[in-house]
């Protein structure tokens, strides 16, 4: 994949788009909805891979940045009746600005201090919505992107429309992100991640670099938040809980934090796991206490097995194994 020219990569993304288009016609409405959720997670997880995998910073508050994006999009829609693409752009810009501010602070902080700060942000930010009436309080704001255009046909469902929008936005964002990672910035992030002193000696401005990574990551998170708001039709503080930040981090680890190649794995797992766990739980008709908590137990166990045995994600694992074999 790394050796491919830009033109070829664009081709691959276009093919992916066509595949998604046909896929959306072939599966039922529930799967289409879940597809839109996968797109949301792909972006959220990518924002963490960019931040952690490429620039070596840890954020436990990515969910809060999704929230910033979601609220920005909803406010644009409600107050200015802006078209969807403009709402999404606003989400990206506002979240990126918030991320930039956070990044300025973050560049001064080492690992656990940054983790603590972003954790405090994730805990504190949602409760701000109750302080300002224009944010709609606990029940939040509506975010209605409207019905699908009539030209798509009578049977074209709302969820298919969400899925199309989310997929398109995600494909564009990921294509752009791949380009960024292959650019000068991407290379310098990798250098900083490898050895920051050497990188600084080589003339890389650490603060600017880290702040930029935080800003771009927040922009992606903002778009993810706006898409999330679209799929649930609303934004509210409880839609962006601390557990969302943890889920995204989980997804990033399942995908492998050092490469974008496995991002689908994490996203699909996050969407599918509750359903699979629920199905497993319902097969055991034991006490209610067990059935209720089995999904949580299964997810946690999977998580631990992953960090223990495939810490860099399946894609990286396969690659190392292949390289190993070639070297022999």
């Amino acid at each position: 994949m790394h050796k491919l020219s830009n033109k070829k990569r664009l081709g691959i993304f276009l093919l992916l788009g066509v595949a998604i288009y046909f896929l959306s016609g072939a599966v039922d409405e529930l799967r289409v909805y879940q597809g839109a959720s996968v797109a949301v997670f792909v972006l959220g997880i990518s924002s963490i891979i960019l931040l952690t995998g490429y620039s070596g910073q840890v954020s436990l508050g990515q969910g809060a940045l999704l929230g910033v994006g979601g609220y920005a999009a909803a406010l644009m829609r409600i107050h200015y009746n802006a078209p969807i693409w403009l709402c999404f752009s606003a989400a990206i810009i506002v979240a990126a600005m918030a991320g930039g501010l956070l990044g300025l602070a973050a560049a001064r902080l080492s690992g656990p201090y940054l983790a603590g700060t972003t954790l405090a942000l994730a805990v504190g930010l949602p409760s701000i919505a109750n302080q300002f009436a224009f944010l709609g309080g606990e029940q939040g704001l509506l975010f209605d992107v409207g019905f699908p255009p009539l030209s798509l046909g009578k049977d074209f469902t709302q969820y298919k429309w969400f899925f199309w929008i989310a997929s398109l936005a995600t494909l564009i964002a990921i294509f752009w992100l791949q380009n960024v990672m292959r650019s000068r910035y991407g290379r310098s992030w990798k250098a900083v991640r490898g050895n920051d002193v050497a990188a600084e000696l080589a003339g890389i401005n650490l603060t600017r670099n880290k702040t930029l990574a935080f800003t771009l990551s927040a922009g992606l998170a903002g778009l993810s938040g706006a898409l999330l708001a679209m799929t649930i039709g609303t934004v509210s503080p409880s839609a962006f809980p601390l557990s969302l930040s943890f889920s995204l981090l989980t997804g990033a680890v399942l995908s492998g934090v050092t490469t974008l190649g496995g991002v689908m794995i994490g996203a699909v797992t996050l969407v599918a796991i509750p359903e699979i766990a629920g199905a497993v739980a319902s097969r055991f008709s034991s006490s209610e206490a067990v059935t209720n908590n089995l999904p949580g137990l299964l997810v946690s166990t999977l998580l631990i097995l992953t960090v223990l045995f495939v810490p860099n994600g399946p894609v990286e694992q396969l690659r190392t194994r292949r390289e190993h074999r070639v070297n022999k």
Binding site: P112, G116, T117, G124, L249, N293, L297, L303, V307, L308
Partner: protein
């Protein structure tokens, strides 16, 4: 005036409990460079063990001590059976910074689910052993009671014991050496693995006591989903970061600062700011001192 004094007393008692949790977090951080999110689960599990003991022998103080040892044992077990393997597999690359977070979150999930499966999702109560009725000055009642006094004394004596262990023995030094330069420490004759396990065990003990004391600061009730335990972890972590992560004294200062500031904000500004206040305190402290109040500026590693 009484309002002002009470605000201090409220913040002081909460701060003492946060301080204990912060200490637990610092101990693990110093020994293995891991922020242990499972600490909330350990505290909860220890509280349930305490509950079980109180059910059978109905002596709170014995239960507290048993819970403390149980917390230490559980924590040590996690280090031996799990963290050693994890740190070996994820020692380098970006994953090294997130793997411990993810892994301990996973552990937290398992512990919580396990507790809910064993004890059910409803409240259990461990009645506080001493009266919570506040002391009086004249016609005023202070937010300070025999129970709260016992809490503060328990925390203070644990802090004292831990500090003594660290100052009079070489454990403190060995902990830091084991975390920073395990190979060199090994060469110098430090039993690195044992020292790390000890760090986790001490941390588990501190966390367990913090958990049970937290419930006794109120009506004594808790459930697997008690918000208070998640908050204890978050507050403890924030307090540890404020204090500077490397120092026990810092953890205590961080806990007290967080407790007092939150108490004053809630009393004199607004009760709505409960979740925002810690973030602001943290930002201000880290803006002035990015390494925390007592933190050591980490030297560049070339």
């Amino acid at each position: 005036m009484i309002q002002f004094i009470n605000t201090i007393l409220i913040g002081f008692t909460s701060g003492a409990i946060y301080a204990l949790m912060a200490m637990a977090i610092v101990l693990v951080w110093r020994s293995t460079r891991v922020i242990n999110f499972a600490q909330a689960g350990l505290a909860l599990a220890s509280a349930y063990i305490g509950y079980q003991v109180v059910q059978s022998i109905s002596n709170y103080w014995v239960a507290l001590i048993i819970a403390m040892f149980a917390g230490a044992a559980l924590s040590a077990l996690i280090e031996i059976a799990f963290m050693r393997l994890l740190l070996k597999h994820t020692s380098s690359g970006p994953i090294a910074s997130v793997a411990p977070i993810i892994a301990t979150l996973g552990l937290l999930g398992i512990i919580k689910a396990g507790i809910a499966m064993i004890w059910g999702g409803q409240y259990v109560v461990v009645k506080p052993p001493l009266s919570n009725t506040g002391f009086s000055i004249g016609t005023h009642t202070l937010v300070f009671s025999p129970m709260k006094l016992a809490i503060v004394i328990s925390v203070a004596s644990l802090v004292l014991v831990f500090s003594l262990i660290f100052q009079k023995t070489n454990i403190g030094l060995a902990l830091r050496a084991s975390a920073f330069a395990p190979e060199i420490a090994r060469l110098a004759g430090v039993k690195v693995d044992l020292v790390r396990t000890l760090g986790w065990a001490l941390s588990g003990a501190a966390g367990a006591v913090a958990g049970l004391l937290l419930t006794s600061n109120g009506n004594g009730s808790f459930s697997p989903e008690s918000m208070e335990f998640s908050l204890l972890l978050i507050s403890g972590f924030i307090a540890a970061v404020i204090g500077g992560l490397e120092s026990l004294v810092g953890a205590v200062i961080g806990g007290l600062v967080l407790g007092l500031v939150t108490s004053f904000v809630l009393m004199y500004i607004s009760g709505s700011l409960f979740f925002i206040a810690p973030f602001v305190v943290l930002l201000i402290v880290l803006f002035i001192r990015p390494q925390g109040i007592i933190g050591v500026k980490v030297g560049r590693r070339a």
